[in-house]
Subunit: 366 residues, 2 copies
Amino acid sequence: MTPKTIAPGGTLGIVGGGQLGRMIALAAANMGLKAHIYCPDADSPAFDVAAKTTCAAYDDAEALTRFAQSVDVVTYEFENIPRETADLLAAHAALHPSASALATTQDRLSEKDFINRLGIPTAPFRAVDTPDDFARALDAIGRPAVLKTRRFGYDGKGQRIIRTEAESDRNAIFAEFGGAALILEGFVAFEREVSVVAARAADGSFAAFDLCENEHRDHILAVTRVPAPGIAPETAQAALGIARTIADALDYVGVLAVEMFLVREADGAERLVVNEIAPRVHNSGHWTIEGATTSQFAQHVRAVCGWPLGDPSRPGGLKAEMRNLIGDEVEGWRSVLAEPGAHLHLYGKGEARPGRKMGHVTRLKP
Amino acid sequence: MTPKTIAPGGTLGIVGGGQLGRMIALAAANMGLKAHIYCPDADSPAFDVAAKTTCAAYDDAEALTRFAQSVDVVTYEFENIPRETADLLAAHAALHPSASALATTQDRLSEKDFINRLGIPTAPFRAVDTPDDFARALDAIGRPAVLKTRRFGYDGKGQRIIRTEAESDRNAIFAEFGGAALILEGFVAFEREVSVVAARAADGSFAAFDLCENEHRDHILAVTRVPAPGIAPETAQAALGIARTIADALDYVGVLAVEMFLVREADGAERLVVNEIAPRVHNSGHWTIEGATTSQFAQHVRAVCGWPLGDPSRPGGLKAEMRNLIGDEVEGWRSVLAEPGAHLHLYGKGEARPGRKMGHVTRLKP
């Protein structure tokens, strides 16, 4: 499908009002578009930079319809949008990425099935719908393993690690999840976590940013380094190829991120295992604002508006390091401002609660 | 005077809702500030990216007072603010640049007097308040010369060139200006037009971007090239020194631009003559968004918020070229988007009238 081209002056509808929606809106404004943000939270950071805002629930069919009808194209900043919401939006406006790409990637089970069918490895996994399923899955996969909700998890929420036999009281653990659909995933003994942030346009053109290495703390991204150090060029190339295979198979339009594990074999060989797909701009792509010719946010806007993709290369070949400012780390903003060459980004959020992403800092180096 | 430091989460008041106010607001948002735009035009481009807006006249004392009281600091995007407006704002909020810096620079006569008193050359000039003044000024300065309104001119508006004796009917020409206070300026036989865009903080710290060469068409900036080519390094250094002398003498806080003529003497020596001071971010600084570590807009926000100035250097030593998209040139937006490495900026303005600045394109080259 070739989407209609949105002309400058048009309006981009963005579902979700967090920092990702905010940064998409800022990129859209740079290119002469208006942003209309839809979010249930009255103090959404993205509201502060939008030409129009709708504050309503994700199941408010009337508000969703009005929103979709008032914009030229709809996109979203997060994958935890109910399927019904996506379908309703798509009935009234062009929706990119599509409702089907969203459905495939927002459920860990369908996502891993989809990836494996493309011949791309993931961690071993089993669906867990009952306590008996849980027991069988543990037998098949072994320990340690991670029991996760299939949907609506982020930053380690909705997960529980099962390390020992003692932690395997299947009824009690199963009950903790309150009946949500679950998946048990095996552990991957990885050396590094990497990600590919890339864009695909409706005409099939594809542009990937350089491979990122990601360091997590307490399940939250802490640092991204680009290009990912200590990895063979062929492996980095293979990672970009995996992202393209996935994007093509989803007939994807927009920016997506593919998180992968780099496994080092005993003989030193490098192997990639896909962890998950984020059908949206991604925290590991924030470095592109200063570190790439086209930022991931501008790239996403280009793709969803039917515009040509931009150049994803790093100008001057500079290396980038992005550090999140989480919780009270944001209190160091003044020393970041005083550091030559440090790029401070703050999201305009109120309270600096533990684990809350308040901003990030990007540093470029030769 | 040390201004109070504005913390992220605070609100920056911006008087004026055009593209400069819009780009200041976008830079402020990147650093976690809210923008409140004050502008009489309901369809101001800056309104689309602001957390708050006030649409009211520049002489609406009640609206100005409410605006100033609702923000943490006030700045402005253009120098044609009535003195009374600036004084009223300054009575209710920190105003940067100050009302006195604005008063000095918004009147061509006081501006040139001020510059000459610093020992910095300008074109020859005479105040013209009557037809007799005009005759005497023409005798003193010779032809060609330019008769200008002292205030409220921009992009060649409020100007008339006097080339020949036949054009010197002093009564008729004087009458054309409708009684506005005037200045007659001599022509400078310049080789190039250059500008320094620089920032000064309240503590006296100063950071200049590299010297820009500017090419005008029909009195409107068309192209800026950085670093200005074909100019001796000592001359470029001297230009930055002139900007600092001016900023210090104004006790300036914020970004300013100093436009200069480069005159080539018969023996090849280079001489600088100041044309005018813009007490604000400037079109010849737009290249800094991608071409400098800190953009002029981020730098202005830093200065007026009492934050440390950022690094003005060009990352990777890349050269920048900025071209304005004026009037229907904006219709070429799609081919700019398709050009690798071209950075398209559009201002979200409605109609592409002749002479209207609709956007710009920045290209970086090794």
